[in-house]
Symmetry: C2
Subunit: 289 residues, 2 copies
């Protein structure tokens, strides 16, 4: 049976899984993401352990954040994890002894939603990954926006609150400073955004933090809609585990803000926070001998 | 000789020209844009007068603002001029007795800059038309963003000053309320933005109005750069007649705001405020028998 290894390097967690040809998971695993170049070793070790446990795979797909060069299979730059010009493809192929594809995490998460998720048959949509940071994959006319050396879709770094809180990018008032999973957790003083959503039923302060985040997200999405006019917005990443408690207020707020474009549907990613892994599996399939 | 008729319906002025095959203008003319459906009659009359004066043409290209359906050759919606579902192609073809193409003004202005202007050999650029309103044509990977029934590139309606001045679209703080030619003229209390640029050398208040506009424009462009990552921004429309007095401060301010993408070049449209007419001529050429 033709199995592949899928790896999604997030800002906080590296997720990996060995999958059967039909997408069934044989085994999955996760470790925290070390800062800087150490992330590469962590990926290599995690993948090797899964292969050792499950038996050989025929190819691997590895998704990384930031600016990615899929041809040279390098992580060009990641502010969140802290590497630059890090070669993933060569070392991982040496370690695992199978063909390795390297791609941009959110782009392939969006491609997974287009292939088997909430964006099937959509040629104009935005897949928004809400995690440690916020980033979007934008499909327009059936093509994913991309440009060598750049990364369209940096929704986390659109300024929605001029003069607001300082962002890791150096600007003030970026969407990420209010609506990322990290920002939501930090505003409420807990470790994860999930705790804030869990507390919301009984606590007005938690509801306030969530409302500030969903309002901010609608402000950012309104900018995206004005500029690229998607017919659908697909919410993924860890924050999408909150389900309707996230999607409903965002959809309502966005409908009130979109003026000169058709109002897009707002839906949850079918793969929820696993869209990256599903995308990594897609990428691995393109590398199979 | 194969001559064509080119018409660009702007928010304030309808421009038209008869051109030779090599793009040389035989004659041009302009009239104010009447509100609503009356714009169609004004286009028909202006075109007929030029044809009567210059002799027959073999095709015509008519550019209109707002949301456009090029297949049905209709102006679907224009907030600035005030029509909805207005058929241009059929009536104009009946009047002029030649094939008539109908297209979106800013899209074809951008295509003209790509064909014969400041965006030659660029596959990722934004053409920004700065006139009565502000709108952009965005080319990504060699494709102009477009979607039937929508109009990507509504840069004038990105909110850059939350809670700011009310815009014609109903939102507050849109880029258009500060940086359009109309907004600049109105902030200084004169009829045209050109007068404000002319006054700037000797008057600090004029300089203040221009600085507010170029800062706002850089804020809006920074959003566009974060989301679609163009390698080049081409400034066109009536405001581009201000030349370096517009482009230099915008380029400087934008360079200070772009964080997570390569900083794009900011250049003036080679066709300045005539990019629309050049685009209309391109469109007419596609309709020649």
């Amino acid at each position: 049976m033709s199995r592949i290894l899928a790896v999604d390097v997030g800002g906080t967690t590296i997720k990996a899984a060995v999958m059967d040809a039909d997408g069934t998971r044989v085994m999955s695993a996760a470790v925290p993401t070390p800062r800087g170049d150490a992330a590469l070793d962590a990926v290599a070790t995690l993948g090797s352990r899964l292969i050792a446990a499950c038996g050989p795979v025929t190819a691997a797909g590895v998704l990384v954040p930031g600016i990615v060069d899929p041809d040279r299979r390098m992580g060009v730059y990641s502010a969140n994890v802290g590497w630059s010009d890090l070669d993933f493809g060569g070392p991982l192929e040496d370690t695992w002894q199978v063909p390795v594809g390297v791609g941009h995490d959110v782009t392939w998460g969006g491609l997974a939603e287009a292939a088997t998720g909430a964006a099937r048959e959509a040629s104009d949509f935005a897949f928004v990954a809400l995690g440690t940071g916020i980033s979007a994959a934008i499909m327009s006319g059936g093509r994913m926006l991309s440009r060598p050396g750049a990364q369209p879709g940096e929704l986390g770094h659109v300024v929605i609150r001029p003069g607001g809180q300082e962002c890791s990018c150096g600007a003030r008032g970026c969407l990420e400073t209010i609506a990322s999973a990290r920002a939501i957790a930090s505003a409420y003083g807990v470790a994860s955004a999930g705790e804030v959503f869990a507390a919301a039923a009984g606590d007005a302060r938690a509801r306030g933090v969530i409302e500030a985040a969903t309002d901010a997200l609608a402000d950012g999405l309104a900018l995206l809609v004005a500029l690229v006019a998607p017919e659908k917005v697909v919410l993924g990443g860890g924050l999408s585990l909150a389900g309707a408690a996230l999607a409903d207020p965002v959809a309502r707020a966005l409908a009130g803000r979109v003026r000169v474009q058709p109002v897009p549907d707002v839906v949850l990613a079918a793969h929820r926070d696993q869209a990256g892994l599903a995308g990594a599996a897609l990428l691995a399939r393109t590398r199979q001998p």
